[in-house]
Amino acid sequence: MVITIRKLPLILQLFLEFLKASCLMFGTGLVIIPLTGPDVVEFFGWMSYKEFFDGVTLGQISPGPVMKTAGFVGYKVAGIPGATAAFWAVFFPPFLTIILLAPFFRRMRSDPWLKGFLKGVKVGAVAIILGTGASMAQTAFPDLLTVAIGAAAFLATLKPKVNMSVVVVTAGVLGTMAKLL
């Protein structure tokens, strides 16, 4: 039996796509980039790489979890209902997992199989984020100025005491000036 997700209503497509991302997310919310990026851009053709990555930027620089980028994709596809479907597909499962699994937490913590599984899964998460890193760099670094901004930001963030919002605002102002002047 072939189930074609494209035949489903758009809202349901969004919901399932981001439900998948939420259920496979281990380690960091940035996993949303490799898990949904290729589908959103190439499989569904909902938006371009540039737009997707701008959405990730919005999710990253605003307070709260990065996973809210899901709402951005949903908004582009189907307006406010789409944003609602995609956003809650990501943030609804934690309510279920915590409240339903709470009685088993003690046993889960000492389960050697689960521990081993998680070790592997977290390494996998790092690998797939790095896997998309190279292609994201292509969209983010169109010229030398952006490479310089990126390198400066990387060096700045290596120092733990640097305030990220200062770096972000500085880069934003630099970018705006470069485009306007």
């Binding site: 939420s22 980039i33 809210k68 889960m108």
Partner: protein, 236 residues
């Protein structure tokens, strides 16, 4: 929610974290805060996470440590050990960690309803924010000023992602077996296996792309015939 506002109104000033932290927990007048410690009310749980979410910058680690400062040191909702145990559990579950931590704290302090309210408090600000930002982006994103902002900030976000990956990589890839696993995952992400075999036709793509998202350009020329990677959407 409204009637609870007065009891927490005083603690709004305490949000000037973390400088006040060194001076120890600041006493806020009112009997409700005193009673808060072991059995916080539903309203105070909701309001705490609601306010935290607006100030939560800098990735899950940053806001989880903010939660630790507040819930352990300042509000004394949890002991340090309880908090560490909860964090261990949330790390084992799939899904956004900080959100899970909020739900977990609410659940431990005030049952199911507490968990739901804590989670909603933490999530609703993000929802409002992403709606607003998306509306703005799709309406004004083409303007040179807004476009320039992303032109400048996108490289910073790449730097942040790279840094996160380096930190996570250092803490998770601890032996040679895991390093092998890392390489295998990376390669199979770039060259996804064609599960359906060559006989079945791949789903037609709406927008044929010349470059693949999931692979750097220097690997593009070795393309395998394949559908979307890591996706249940294209599976039959």
């Amino acid at each position: 929610m409204e009637e609870a506002r007065w009891e927490d109104a005083g603690s709004m000033k305490r949000r000037s974290w973390p400088s006040t932290h060194a001076a120890g927990p600041i006493r806020v007048a009112g009997p409700d805060i005193e009673m808060d410690q072991r059995h916080p009310s539903l309203a105070s749980i909701f309001l705490y996470f609601f306010r935290l979410s607006w100030a939560a910058f800098g990735g899950p680690l940053a806001y989880i440590s903010m939660m630790e400062d507040d819930c352990v040191e300042r509000r004394k909702w949890l002991s340090k050990e309880e908090f560490a145990e909860m964090l261990g559990v949330t790390n084992m579950l799939p899904g956004p960690n900080a959100t899970e931590m909020a739900i977990h704290i609410g659940h431990a302090k005030a049952g199911k309803l507490g968990g739901i309210l804590a989670g909603l408090g933490f999530i609703i600000p993000s929802f409002i924010m992403i709606l607003g930002l998306s509306w703005f982006y799709f309406r004004y994103g083409k303007m040179p000023g807004v476009d320039g902002f992303f032109y400048g900030v996108n490289p910073v976000v790449v730097a942040i992602i790279l840094l996160t990956v380096l930190r996570l990589g250092r803490s998770t890839i601890t032996d040679s077996k895991l390093a092998c696993l890392f390489l295998i995952t990376l390669l199979s992400y770039w060259f996804p296996p064609d599960w359906r075999g060559s006989s079945s036709t791949p789903p037609p793509r709406r927008k044929p792309q010349t470059r693949s998202f999931s692979r750097p350009w220097w690997l593009q020329r070795w393309s395998l015939p394949s559908g979307s990677s890591l996706s249940f959407c294209s599976c039959s």
